[in-house]
Amino acid sequence: MRALGVRSAFPFGVTLIAFILLALFLIYPLAQVLVASLLDPTGTTLTFANYGRVLGIAFYRAGLINSLTLGAGAAAISVVVGVPMAFCLARLPIVGRNWLLAIAALPLVLPSFVGAYAWVMLLGRSGIVTQALASVGLPSLSIYGMPGLTLVFALHSFPYVLLPTVAAFKAIDQSMEEASLNLGATRIATFWRVQLPIALPAVLAGALLVFVETIENFGVPFLLAEDRPILAVQAYKLFVGEVGANPASAGVLSMLLVFCTVAALLVQRRYLARRRFSTAARSQPPELVVGAAGRIGATVYCWGMVLLALVPFAVVVVISFMPFRGPVLHPGFTIDNFIVLIDRASRPLLNTLGLASAATLAATLVGLPIGYVLVRYRSALAGILDSLSMTPLAVAGTVLGIGFVLAFNAGWLVLTGGWLVLAIVYAVRKLPFNVRAASAILHQIEPSLEEASINLGVSPARTFVQLTLPLMIGGVVGGMVLTWVAIVSELSATIVLYSGPWATMTIVMFQALEGGSPGVASAAATVLIAVTLVPLLLVYRLLRRHELSLT
């Protein structure tokens, strides 16, 4: 896609503002953490010795390897599961396809640590499924350790691969596969050699998100890794451990996480740079004709995967209606959990909804112009901005949160203690979503439209507002809703930044789960699911109309 070569203050202005905002709310707080990782024990000189020391410890090396394995494994499974499913959903007559698409994004809604708890209830050593299996003499499958972790992550985040890939398959012009078939390739060869390579950028972008979110997450391995070292968990513990707090080592581990993600981002960027396919389909590919067996098989596969991913939901909802005495679950039915919750969580629910909306708005207002400038006004500066705006993906929420406390608790800009700091941290963390959603939709809008507008006397800035924005709105709203949903389930930055009355629903859940009230935690999750369903259904409607793509 061609860039706009227009001489204008607009892209410069956007770039400048974006740099200022990112410098203030990303680089500055992160630098506080980075400096900690570079300080020698006396706290006066900067040195790389800490890196050598930490990497010299086998425990942390194992953590690094485990994290990378976990991320790669979850991404690989997401691709293996998600791509065939995406193809089925895009091209086969799946029974109840619209419903399926509507709920496919749902796994993203449930905070992953709640999902992990649900899996323990099912597949833990005394889990319901484990015991059922044991009672019929089958070996129990363990949810603990690397295989369990990988599965939980893959099931939680495969929609990141599925959703953009469905859109990508649908966007491949029919003539491509017709040409391939005409040249004598079989359907299968056509899939491998034409359709899959064209959809690959979308697949990879999704896989990258899975990788990054997996290695950044600490809530799930905290529960399920047992004593296998995981980088994010160790970093968290070194930052805030009751006994062994060691900011230097924690900084080193956090920075290792950042480096891993940045490396993954760069690899993906290099790969995509050489493969930028314009995939706006002139004629949408038709549904393939398959026999009853194929149809049933595909339907069972797709529904099976989505329902499997939704099992934690069912568990959580069921548990929320079961009675607890203290921390102990007893059989029966009750709405007591919800009664306790209403008392405790009406304010947090409003906080969550309000903060998520404010942060989504902020992330969009900043991310949209950035995405626009990146696609339409390429320059060396824009390249840096591109990398910078993707960096939040690479930063664990805890790390960014602590950076914010270090940076904004005193001095010339004080933010801690109110709602604004949470909104800003959320906006920064989810900025990449919005930048990507904006650039994805822009790739489908001909730049000559904007040139025509400018040529007719409308300035570049006004052209953006008056012409480009309305054309982008479908994709942008889709990105906004996904951002909103992701913020609603945010925990790791919130836990180090919230204060006083600004607790969110995830905080309520985390504390209830920690504090031996899983019933209340489940009730809170149930409420959150119900509340998030509404915008998700909205996204799904847009998905149908605008072929929303996350890439």
């Binding site: 890794a225 805030v240 203290g326 406390v405 504090g515």
Partner: protein
Amino acid sequence: MTVNVGWFKTMAVGVLFLSVAAATAHAQKQVIVYTSNEDTLNSLVFAGFEKDTGIKVQPVAAGSGVLVRRLSAEKERPQGDVLWGISRSLLDTNRAYFQPYRSQNRDAIPAEFRDPDDLWIGNNLHVMVILQNTKLVPEADGPRQWADLLDKRLKGKIAFTDPVNSGAAFTTTTLLVGMFGGGEAGWGKVANLFTNAKILNKSSLVFQGVGQGEYSLGVSLEYAGYLWANNGAPVKVIYPAEGTVVQMEGCAVIKGGPNTTSAEAFVDYINRKDVREMIFAKTFRRPARQDVDLSHLPGGMPPLASIKQAPYDEKLWTEARAATLQRIQDVIVQTR
């Protein structure tokens, strides 16, 4: 243009909501409590305190490590009033962030459980115990002493907390090094114990795990065993025959916090005899004040005097903490 109008509407509604919420939050007298206690205990105490004093509690609940990090990060402009549910050694190392307060209940608390300068005061005591899931291990087959945990047949069945993240686990580990003969011999036996154990990230994972049947045995806190057992879980509390260690948890008034007077009221409230009894009845926290008669309260918890305590040099191990943690970590790596 319709697009912009929609945006501004959303934004206006959001800002309106947030400012209204912020305004109502400041209308009442309040106290901001940094608490590492769990939800149940928090809710119980905060509701009682509000009813009693009319002061609204704004809790910031997180692990004690997170709270202390926040405390030091916020030292220029403290955001909290009270720090509550923190171990003695952590209170001692962070004295710089507290301001002295002579509580009304000071004299009811034994001197060993309060700061000589009144910078902090003890609330409750944790006794380190072994928890046994009686559904997984028949009651009679359980361990009776620490040394029983070294049995090779228990491999993978014992839950232990990562000492990096838990003061209690650090204390237990170092206690056992001494008890198992000290020096290399002691460390060697601790390594044997760790070989049998799953080292979990957080102390709550240990007692939850034993309570839910994920692990047969757990090295954990006394109260948790009573809490789960009295609510119907198959959990038995074992006081090891060689003796164990008692860990104090306390609270402190944060220096320069926004509501110091309310903070002091909270410190007084939390150590009141009737309040301690109420807390015990619901959550089995053994009071630091020794004038509460446990035999009249539910649960059947033995008095402190009847529990054998092993000698433990807390000061020495606190000073050697960095090297010891490194050693523990090495042991963990070697035994995986």
